[in-house]
Amino acid sequence: MTSTITVEHLWKVFGPKPERVVGTELADLPRAELRARTGCLAAVRDVSFAVEAGEVFVVMGLSGSGKSTLVRCLTRLIEPTSGEISIDGEAVRAMNARRLRDLRRHRVAMVFQHFGLLPHRSVLDNVAYGLEIQGLGRAERHRRAGEMLTLVGLDGHENQYPEQLSGGMQQRVGLARALAIDPAVLLFDEPFSALDPLIRRDMQTEVRRLHAEVGKTLVFITHDLAEALTLGDRIAVLRDGDVVQIGTPEDLVGAPADDYVADFVRDVPRSDVLTLRWIMRDPLDGETCEDQPLPATTVIRDAVPRILRAKLPVQVVDGDRPVGVVDADRLLPALISHHRQVPA
């Protein structure tokens, strides 16, 4: 299976004559020095990754790390400086204007942090906008838009205007608008950052549900680690335009690539993210175990009652193959090892 999106050696440099930066010794300069020497800002530096079909790929970084620029480069809302992008095997940077428009109209849709709704149009016509500009007839596009509103739980709000809705509902409209064109790929640019924490959690649940229902490929930009860990199949951590680490939530928490990532994940309760694989040990010679083994993919937290109640160590299996054992001695450090959240 080929990847849905592949990005290779992508650069985006803002400023005067950006092309002179890539591939020269300037490219290796730290951000501040590059800026002082050339007036250029390297927002995305030599980024490569691949997103598989149906995957939720999260790009995480602090503000200014280049993540929003990166996601805009994927459909050339921002023109990349160099590198290759391909979607469904087709080179995006080689597309002419018409082909690019087709890509945006049919295959890749985007959800924005500040919604970007049209205030002069009703909710229904906002959702139908993408279909309208494709030239779809009024009845058909309204029918499809209505279905999308049902999908995101906004039945009965068709004829309201965006300003009459709460932020969370507006973002649902943005989501419905993106889904309406039935794209293979959905790009989310910090879609929930402008929302209240409670609404944000609802929306995250909503995205997980929709992902399960419609099975799109998702690229999700966020600065919120918890959000990244909740949603992401894999996470790319960006700093100053560089990819620091790409991996599963487990990889990030269990084996951070450097101090930066380690610092990031310091407060994450390890037992919520890591699986038994990270705490199991090799069985001792002739050690007897509990009858019932646990799969290696079990999250530590879920295994706590079993392991604590067991008199003997519990065997960990990958499929049918035993790979190790865990006991309370291995479990407890993982439960308390993360950084204290409330000062003593």
Binding site: A43, H106, A109, Y129, Q164
Partner: protein, 673 residues
Amino acid sequence: MTATATPPTIQPDGRVVAVAGEGAAPWRRGLTRRRVLWVVLIAATVGAYLGFRTGGAADSDDAAAFRFFTDVRNWVDENRDTSPLFLYGFNYLRLGVRLLVDAVQAGLYGLGFAGLVAAAGAVALVLAGWRTALVAVGGFLAFGFLGLWAESVDTLVLTTSAVLLAVVIGVPIGVLAARVNWVSAILRPVLDVMQIMPTFAYLAPMTLLFLIGEPAAVIATLIYAVPATIRITELGIREVSPTTVEAATALGSTSRQLLTKVRLPMARPTIVLAVNQTIMMALSMVVITALIDAPGLGQNIIRALERVNVGAAFDAGLAIVIMAVVLDRITTGAARRRPAAPARHQRPTAANGVERVGAGRRDRWRAAGGRNRWAVAAGTLVVVVVLAVLPISEDLPHFSFAVPVNELTGWIELHWYDGTEWVKNVVSAGLLDPLEGVLTSTPWWLFVLVVAGFGTMASGVRAAVIAALAAAGIAGLGLWQHAMQTLATVLVTIVLTMAVGIVLGVWSARHDWFAAGLRPVLDAAQTMPSFVYLLPALALFGASRFTAIVAGFVYAFPPVVRLVDRGLRDVPAAVVEAAVSAGSTPRQLLWKVQLPMARGGLLLAANQGIVMVLAMVVLGGLVGAGALGYDVVAGFSQREDFGKGLAAGFAIVLLGILLDRLTQGFHHAKGPR
């Protein structure tokens, strides 16, 4: 500057602070150096003045510039029907505008009295709701009651024609300027000059090219009003949320779809506002074009002003104000209107309960508008047609305010004479005469140098060079004395305006009840065409230089109050809160926090005010203020003075450019660093 060249990024906090800290020290050193420079400059100016001052000889009536302009006029008169420039250019332009005016005139007159009143009501009803419709019908009926029906319709014809042209020309240019940066860059200085040109200065060149009468009036009005159309349209398009445009782009919109489905609809309220401003400016100008023989209410005012008959002018002034209010209400109503939403509306967030009540009421109105809009439009159309066909004439009983107003003016003259004379004499003798004496006895070259020096300090080298060139140009036109007299009047007026404007603005920003009371007054004042302001000034102070000062003051202080109030209120609430919690008294808050932070607004107010004051002071030439304004008026009425009049027009423009450039640096002042 490199910071603005690249998109903003977030630096770690410490670094930003460090940079600011480094920058602060040299800046402070620069400040003391600036102070020294100012002192040196002022000392040098005073010294040079004392050393080189002249007797202030009166302007010649036969300067080279006047002769040149007279020659130009003679050439134009001789070649108007033979030169290809006129044959294929200006004459066709005149013909085209004449056709437009005739068509509009035929339309409005064709409706007849009852038909036009009904049509005004219908337009207001459809665009702005029934309240405004009542205002419109009442207003148009008032034209009949005042016995000024024909004049009002003539004014309306000219205004409508000019606004049609301004919208047809201005909106596309505004859209283009918003989308194409170099168009905007080229347009900006052109529009700047067009906007600082006092209304008066347009007229003479218009008569030269288009003769007198309606076409010249419409074209002058168009030139006066179209910058507002272009500017506000450009602003509206530029203000469209970039996120929304990006979202629409991400869905694959073509650039045409972006324009017609996103940018134009989202900018619609602002574009309607542009039309509103265009109408108000056009109306104000159309009245003044009576000076070049355009028909309408302006004629009545000018005739009355010439005879210092305040009462007779009052009726026409009232009609103009009524027309301004009606047109303003209709267009602002249209701007507020949103696309009709259907009746069903519930806000599920309980937290917004209060808001919901208000929103619900508004929605119901919208809903009613949406469902019935077409029915209402059709119904009113029928009414209009029926009334237009019925032979109802404008023979209403006439009410004139001429007699009571003249009696009131007489009473004021009789009883307040001592008071008004005292104010007049104090300002004239205490402020105006000394300043005028100094300015007129300054040799022109010294004035140019001083402008260059102070201009560089206040607004930078480029603006200073332009201002100095303008000053030299005034000298070259041979109207030095008159220009300096006008300048003295302008300076005195702006000082008074700023003093009163700041006090009222501060009060308005600090006391909501005062602001609420002041707002309708300011609104009304800004709707009124400039011409009207001459009337109360004339009633109180007779024909004199001081009348122009009063009129200029009354004309310019509303925007000054507005800008000061805005500037103070825009001081972030968090900063005010912090100062209050640190224990500031209200006085300390004002002087140490609010006024310094509102500096940008205050300086902008000064810049705006000075240009408005100039326009009005020049207009004061009609009521005895003399100097440049009088020269222009005389140029219209006496053929042999044409050259001087035209030169005076140019001198006014140059004076406007000079004053604007000198204070232009104020625009960019952003409060304290």
